[in-house]
Every structure is written in C-alpha cells, then in structure tokens.
Amino acid sequence: MLPLEGFGPLLPEHLSEIIAGIVLFLICWLVIQKKVVPAFEATYEERAAAIQGGMEKAEKAQAEAAAALEEYKEQLATAREEAARIREEAKAQGATIVAEMRQQAQDESARLLNNAKTQIEAERAQAISQLRTEVGGLATTLAGRIVGESLDDDERARRTVDRFIESLEREPVERA
C-alpha cells in the first residue's frame, strides 16, 4: 500500500495519523493561546500589582508611624524642658520671696525697735522734766520750811534747785 516497505513501524500505518496529530494539536494550541494563557497571565499581573500595592501601603504606614513617633518624642522633650524651666523659675522665685520676707521682717523689727527707743527716750525726757519740776517744788518747800527763809524769790529758788539737781545728776556718775 505504501512505498518504502520494510521500514516497519517507522512508517505511519495511515497518513491520516500525521494530519490528525497536527489538527488536534493545533486546536489545543489555539484554545490555550486564546483563553488559557491570557487568563493565567492576567491573574499573575493582577497578583503582582496587588502585592506591589500592598507593599507600598505598608511602607507608607511605616513611614507615617515613624514620623508620628518622632513628633511624640519631640513633644516629650519640649515638655520635659518646659517642666525643668518652670521648676527652676519656681525655685528662683521661692528664694526671692524668702529673701524679701526676711528683709521685710528685719526692716519691721528695726522700725519697731526704733519706735520703742524713741518712745522710751521721750517718756524718759518727760519723766525727767516732770520729776525736775516736782522735785524742785518739793525741795523748795522742804528747804523753805527747814531754813525758814523765804524762797519766794522764784528766780533765785529755781536757780538753786537747778544747781542742786545738776549736782545730783553728776553725783551718781562720780560715785560710780
């Protein structure tokens, strides 16, 4: 039937086998070319895009988180500084207040002391002058009685009393 007898199974039994093989394979090829490979490749592209998008998103989120952290740190540092400054100020203010108070107290005590001294001085002077007058009168009366001499001459009497008192004043000093 076929030429080249003697090749045995190396010759196709039917030439139709070659045609059938080619046609059937071409149909498979066509379907896979038109439908299968595009579907697979589209899925792969979509997946790659999805993964890339996800990665970008994650990176962005990370960057945002880092920025927020930086900001918080900065804020914290500022707050600490502020607190330290306020503390220092308070300390300084406290010291000033204490000093002022002390000064005021000192001034006040000095003033009171002064007042007291002045008052004492005044009272003493008053007492002295009063005493002098009274003592003078008494002494004059007493002396007049003792001596009998009229000491009506005021001018003379007063001078005598003064002299006496002066001598009295001098005496305790000299005695001491």
Binding site: S16, G21, V37
Partner: protein
C-alpha cells in the same frame, strides 16, 4: 460486548493482528466502521483516543483558567503549579524574555503529549497514542515549522540560513565540512530525532508491557506442562510476571512524563537557538 465499544477498548492478545508473541502488528489500529471499507480505515480507535486526549487537554486548561482569583483556590494553585512548570522551567529558562509568544505552544505540546502517553496506562485505552509514529511525525513537523518560522521571521531567510548553517568563528577551510553538517543537523536530524525519540520510547514501553501482561496471562492459563516445565512452575512464573508488570507500568508512567518533558524542552531549545542573537 460487541459493536463500536469492542473496537475502542483494549483487547490485547485477541483480534486480527494480535497474538503471541506481541509484535509491531499488535500496534495496528482497528477501524471503527470496518463495514465501510478501507477508505474509512482512518476512523480508527487510535484517532478516537487522540481526539479524546485533545478534549481532555482543552477541558483541563479551560477548567483551570476559569474563575481565577488573586488569592488562588486549591484547584487554581494546582493549575498554577503545572502552568509554572512549563512557563518558568521550560519556556523562560530556554527563551528568556521572548517566552510569552511561544508559551501557548509549549503548554499545548507538553499537555497533549503527556495525556496521550498516560493513555498507555489509563483511561480504558491502554495504548500510548504516540507509539503510532504518524502522530509523532505530526508534532515534530509542527515544531520544525515553528522554530524555522520564528527564525526566518526574526532574521529573514538569508540571514537565518547563514546563522543556522555556519556557526561564528569557523575558519574558511572548514566551511565545506561544517555547512552541510550543520544543515543536516539543524534541518533534517532535529525533527526526525524528535519524532523517533518519542515514538520509540512509547513503542518499546508498550511492547514490554504487552510481553509481561499477555505472557503472564498465558502462563497463568496453562493447564498442561509445556516444553518440559510443570504446570505449577509455569503458573508461578505467570504470577511473578503479573507482579513485575506493575513495576513496568510505573516505569512507563515515568517515561511518558519524561518524554513529554523532553519533547517540550527541545522544542523550546530549538526555538531559542533560531532566534538567539549570536549562534
């Protein structure tokens, strides 16, 4: 069983050409409609199984390509593993960034050959389609057209022929030797080796399977001593033969997959060599 069905399923050891010992005649096709005469002998059981193989290939890939999602389901994951085997380890490795254009061809090639080889062990037929050499010639011819077509489309006929017959750096003295050799190697030997490798593996494998299965069955069926061997020994040998046939089947499963892989890899390699920048 009678009629069409009996002509489709395997009937090893029976029928017109089969018998003992198995031979090339055992591979002859059975016409589906013998009453119509020899002009319809092409409508035979092997054509039927080739058609079914093509339908399985198309159905499988269409099923895998259906309703794909970014996050793959288990089915899609399986499909992608298979797809990636051809896409990444065969097409991309051999063809580089050009692989997309040839990917459908390679996928169709691998799957079509593999399914047909699996028919040697499965799906009722028990016959690898490519042990009929016509089918192997058909695919080899297509591959030949593909790699030459791709080369000519890229370089133009003259440049392509020069690239394929004259490797760079060959001294002029050797041209007379190299040009015919390269021509022979690249245009004649390639398609024939491609077809013969696939055919011979499938043919030989199926022949061995037949020897084991039919021979063992015959031994088991022995009822009287033959050639001086007692019946018990013959039956034991038959039992062992059946057990061994399972090992042969396992080997044939492996060979079928390997041959499909090799055919596809070589096709990718040939295409790569014809479109490569420097030969």
């Amino acid at each position: 069983m009678g009629g069409l069905a009996s002509r489709l399923i395997p009937l090893e050891g029976e029928g017109d050409h089969s018998g003992w010992p198995p031979s090339a005649e055992s591979f002859n096709s059975r016409p589906l409609f013998p009453d119509l005469g020899p002009q319809f002998s092409w409508l035979n059981n092997h054509l039927t199984q080739a058609v079914i193989a093509a339908i399985i290939v198309i159905a499988f890939w269409l099923w895998m390509a259906r309703r794909q999602t970014v996050v793959p389901s288990r089915k899609q994951f399986l499909g992608e593993q298979f797809y990636n085997l051809i896409r990444n380890t065969i097409a991309r490795d051999a063809l580089g960034h050009d692989y997309r254009r040839f990917l459908p061809y390679l996928i169709a090639l691998f799957t079509f050959i593999w399914i047909n080889n699996l028919f040697g062990q499965f799906f009722l037929f028990m016959f690898p389609t490519f042990s009929k050499i016509g089918y192997a010639y058909g695919l080899a011819l297509l591959t030949w057209l593909l790699y030459n077509g791709a080369g000519i489309a890229k370089w133009g006929f003259g440049t392509y022929m020069r690239k394929m017959t004259l490797p760079e750096g060959v001294p002029k003295a050797l041209w007379a030797l190299i040009i015919p050799l390269e021509f022979l190697s690249n245009f004649i030997v390639r398609p024939f080796t491609l077809a013969l490798r696939l055919f011979a593996n499938m043919f030989a494998g199926h022949l061995v399977v037949m020897v084991f299965v039919i021979g063992s069955t015959m031994l088991l069926a022995m009822t009287e001593p033959a050639n001086g061997f007692p019946v018990a020994l013959l039956k034991t040998a038959g039992g062992i033969g059946i057990v061994f046939s399972f090992a042969i089947f396992a080997l044939e499963l492996l060979v079928g997959a390997i041959q499909a892989y090799i055919f596809t890899v070589l096709t990718a390699q040939y295409v790569a060599s014809s479109i490569a920048e420097s030969h």
